[in-house]
């Protein structure tokens, strides 16, 4: 029982990060119908910059802020300079260009910082509180929950309560109509990529310290888990991304804990297969198909 409780909290904590990362994937998918395979590499790049700033200034929080702002900037640049010019006649084009970005970013990071793991600190202790002999959550876990919750709430407010959010949703669903109504659709796309990349950077800052540390490939496995979470949730659904993230986090935690870490990737794949067979659109897909 102790172990179960521990694994549950651990899974939720990891799942929260996957949820944030999956949310970033969904943001871009909804706006452009592209799965941003470069999101992991982009997030790592900003995490390197963030930790460099932290080391140079001695302030974790300054580095954290720089990483998230760096995500905003890198996302905007990726859309403006690269993804905008992708030909949409085949869905594969976007994937191939994104994979190319991954290689470029990871190559450049390796050249600048080297291909070994570098330590990544945390602002809070990672020692878990124990209640009645059961270790539950650490302060850092609580920080992870709070940060992800803040992101989810802020994004929800942005998209459902603000004029910019309305413009962004309209641009994604009906670009030509939106332009006729005076919406700067290109600008909304850039903003969407910027926001998504910033959320990705935040997720990287939350997850990298809990794994082996900074490395150009540090987010590869996280990307796979989060991509699974997004697909399980239905790619189009923000609620689905969050639920998918928590589901994948719990699954990974239980399987690693009870069956061993080597089985975990298989469990993720199995989940993907089962969900796609049972509900091809994902758990939270809307049944209404869009009439063009």
């Amino acid at each position: 029982m102790d172990r179960f409780v521990f694994l549950t909290f651990d899974g939720l904590s990891r799942g929260a990060v996957y949820a944030a990362f999956a949310l970033a994937l969904v943001l871009i998918w909804r706006a452009t119908r592209i799965v941003n395979f470069a999101q992991g590499a982009m997030a790592v790049a900003t995490a390197y910059v963030g930790y460099s700033v932290s080391t140079a200034t001695g302030s974790y929080w300054l580095g954290f802020l720089v990483a998230v702002l760096g995500g905003l900037a890198l996302g905007a640049v990726a859309e403006r300079v690269v993804m905008r010019f992708v030909d949409h006649s085949s869905p594969l084009n976007g994937v191939v260009v994104a994979l190319g970005l991954v290689l470029v970013i990871q190559g450049v990071l390796g050249m600048i910082y080297g291909n070994e793991f570098r330590p990544a600190g945390t602002p809070f202790s990672r020692d878990a509180f124990t209640v009645g002999g059961i270790s539950l959550l650490s302060r850092f876990d609580l920080f992870v929950f709070a940060a992800v919750l803040a992101v989810v709430v802020l994004l929800a407010i942005l998209f459902t309560r603000t004029a910019v959010g309305l413009r962004m949703r309209a641009s994604a669903f009906a670009p030509d109509v939106s332009r006729l109504l005076g919406v700067n659709v290109g600008g909304m796309l850039t903003l969407g990529w910027a926001l998504a990349a910033a959320v990705g950077s935040l997720a990287a800052m939350l997850v990298i310290p809990t794994e082996l540390g900074l490395h150009p490939n540090a987010m590869d496995i996280v990307f796979v888990s989060s991509f699974t979470a997004a697909v399980v949730g239905g790619l189009d659904s923000a609620v689905g991304a969050v639920a998918g993230g928590l589901i994948v986090g719990l699954l990974l935690s239980y399987v690693s804990g009870y069956l061993g870490a080597t089985v975990a990737p298989i469990a993720v794949l199995l989940l993907l297969v089962v969900v796609l067979l049972g509900r091809p659109g994902g758990l939270f897909s809307s049944s209404a198909a869009r009439a063009v």
């Binding site: 309305l166 109509v177 332009r179 109504l181 005076g182 919406v183 659709v185 869009r290």
Partner: protein, 238 residues
């Protein structure tokens, strides 16, 4: 007669094949002008060119004395031009209220944008009852009202309407035509109306433009077109 919109020698199309071949058009302010013609005559292409979605290869469009060359699509609405595209253009994933608000987001005068929104709800009572409904739950007629209402929130001077009667019951079509007539008479709205439903369109239009194969083949006042038997047989099919 003040001219609100003037198109001169418009040649435009997709790829190498021009759909429009030297189209001239004059839309007087405060009038309803019907653009008539068979499928493939270039009516929709004409509207898309006027609103900037399609760039003409040759020719120019002048709105209220200002050349629209180089003006971006998203700027058109700020110049008083509203285009309700074919198939109604309602964003079906958004609610009625969100669709209507979208029509006024560009406006600096927030108070008047709110007033215009309230006016649309007053004018279109069925929409007021369905504010929170997503667009895909509306009937065809309601969607058309929503698309027109959304354009009105921007208080346009010129409304380009592409086939508003498409797929609608005759009674609903009649309501929409009556509404356009009211808007013209009461607010001075100028309408350029593309229609397959020639009878309906000519019943409210002041003048009509008949297109065939990308050219204007006739341009006359609506009563003349209604009474011209040869024209009706040749191009209008009734």
């Amino acid at each position: 007669m003040t001219v609100l919109l003037q198109a001169e020698g418009i040649t435009a199309g997709y790829g190498d094949a021009p759909v429009l071949q030297g189209v001239d058009l004059t839309v007087p302010a405060g009038s309803i002008t019907a653009v008539l013609g068979a499928n493939g005559a270039g009516k929709t292409t004409l509207l898309r060119t006027l609103s900037g979605l399609l760039r003409p290869a040759r020719g120019r469009v002048v709105l209220d004395g200002l050349d629209l060359r180089g003006v971006r699509v998203e700027e058109m609405v700020r110049r008083g031009l509203a285009h309700v595209p074919e198939g109604r253009g309602v964003v079906t994933e958004l609610t009625v209220d969100e669709n209507l608000r979208l029509g006024g987001l560009w406006r600096k005068d927030r108070a008047d944008a709110k007033r215009a929104l309230d006016e649309v709800y007053e004018l279109f009572e069925p929409l007021a009852r369905r504010r929170r409904f997503p667009g895909h739950q509306l009937s065809g007629g309601e969607r058309q009202l929503l698309a027109i209402g959304r354009a009105l929130v921007g208080r346009p001077r010129l409304l380009l309407l592409d086939e508003p009667s498409l797929g609608l019951a005759p009674r609903v079509t009649g309501q929409i035509m009556g509404l356009l007539r009211t808007l013209r008479d009461q607010t001075g709205l100028t309408v350029l109306l593309v229609e397959q439903n020639v009878r309906s369109a000519l019943s409210i239009a002041d003048s009509g433009v008949v297109m065939a194969l990308g050219r204007v083949v006739a341009n006359a006042n609506a009563a003349t077109l209604r009474d011209d038997e040869d024209m009706r047989h040749a191009y209008l099919g009734f």
